[in-house]
Symmetry: C2
Subunit: 276 residues, 2 copies
């Protein structure tokens, strides 16, 4: 119990760090004492590392009313918006510290061990619009960690006639954007977030099964590009069993405060256990 009874921040973040060693253990590894844990991941490192620059990219769900005037300032409260990206950024900065200040972990007191977090989500954007601004809003920021949530507008704007896309076009264009990203930023650690909808508001049955094909494409791209996958739809599918869909996203697309909180926890719980 000692671990749990001590100050929790160090303990649970310590646990997260140790979890990284445990993630790769097979069930057999857990029941057999013969497998030394260190050999399980001889080369892998935590996804989030001291001094990282972390970039959130996407559409209105990521944008969430962020202040453009301070967009160039790392870790700026208003520049990070009021959505899941801000809450996830806050979780990262509480855990790892912000660049320029002493990290909360006393073992890392160097001021450069903290993180620099940016948000470049723009409301209404689709894959092609990310591509158009990728140099300025991604490559030039030289992120060590890049988290992308994109896709709901690719189908939504196609359904309402403003755009013309299909799951195949989305996958092809997104694949090209990720390949370009790997070329420009060979060491970037990728996080691909699953596009999601709740069955309420603007979302009706006409979205399915097409929307599921967009989600499946994002999953395939995460596998192909060795990205950590954050399964937001899987989380919301479970959440909709315990509260009505509109509790999580009134219009079925834009998360409520409760939806944002669940997304940030899911993102952090996934990323804090991820290896690269």
């Amino acid at each position: 119990m000692t671990n749990e009874a001590k100050p929790a921040r160090r303990e649970f973040f310590g646990a997260s760090a140790l979890a990284l060693t445990g993630v790769g253990l097979s069930a057999a590894g857990l029941t057999s004492c013969a497998t030394p844990i260190v050999r399980e991941h001889p080369t892998q490192q935590p996804l989030i590392q001291p001094g990282d620059t972390v970039l959130f990219q996407g559409d209105s769900i990521t944008d969430a009313g962020r202040d453009r005037k301070t967009a160039g300032i790392a870790n700026d409260r208003k520049a990070l918006g009021n959505g899941y990206a801000w809450l996830a950024a806050a979780g990262l900065l509480v855990q790892h510290g912000a660049a320029g200040e002493a990290a909360p972990d006393a073992e890392h007191t160097a001021s450069n061990s903290g993180l620099r977090v940016f948000n470049r989500g723009i409301s209404g954007h689709k894959v092609l619009q990310l591509d158009k601004r990728w140099q300025r809003d991604c490559v030039d920021l030289k992120p060590d960690v890049l988290s992308i949530l994109i896709g709901v507008n690719d189908i939504w704007h196609s359904k309402n006639g403003k755009f013309n896309s299909t799951p195949a076009i989305y996958e092809k264009d997104y694949d090209a954007l990720l390949a370009r990203t790997r070329e420009e930023l060979p060491k970037v650690r990728l996080i691909i977030c699953e596009p999601f909808v709740l069955r309420c508001g603007s979302i009706d049955e006409s979205w399915f099964p097409e929307f599921d094909e967009y989600r499946a494409a994002a999953r395939r791209l995460a596998d192909q590009h060795h990205a950590t996958f954050v399964a937001f739809q899987s989380m919301f599918d479970q959440a909709a069993k315990i509260a009505p869909p509109a509790h999580w996203a009134g219009d079925g697309v834009h998360p409520s405060n409760a939806g944002k909180a669940m997304m940030a926890h899911t993102w952090l719980a996934t990323v804090n256990h991820a290896h690269v």
Copy 2:
């Protein structure tokens, strides 16, 4: 990367489960392959177990406008309020499933493997008021897991003359309540949450260092009663470095939506790594 690229819910909750094995590993254990992980915790189990009844107890921060009419219904959205307790409950129910439905984990399909979560926080309450209603609002519910956040009113109501307490009285009465709880519920798994304030709104310098003595008392009680400790003040102290205190709690006591989200994530991240 396979672990991270697969559906994340199973993966990160799987990681959390594995993390439990890792929590107790010493730094030496991580660098030496000689220590089999299974021997580290020969008898310990995850704090949250299939079929558990989980009870949140406390004051207005836990209450958060919960519906009394449905208070007897496990996992009821309105009965769980609109605070950190609801968001933490939702996180637990998304991860473990709700009693009466198939758990999300395909390996646990029995309908009784899900959780039953209740909230019995009441606005304005102090330790003595929990004691008065403990039989009805705790013992009778037979919780397997009991999470308590209490203390800010013990100091607040004493400062404004409505009550007369000291850190020593708080510790003595809280200790007696926990001893009584262990007597009535010998197998209950305890979670003690750290009372917290943000330095804004109703909170001025006159609260210190007295408030810190209340926090220290809660910490000591967690150690003495083998409870998992959720360090909310430590989390908010870090959070206040990246956004103004009022962003997390306008009056310094009652968390904003962002404050609730950070509390729920901190509670879940702590509890998901805790052993008993």
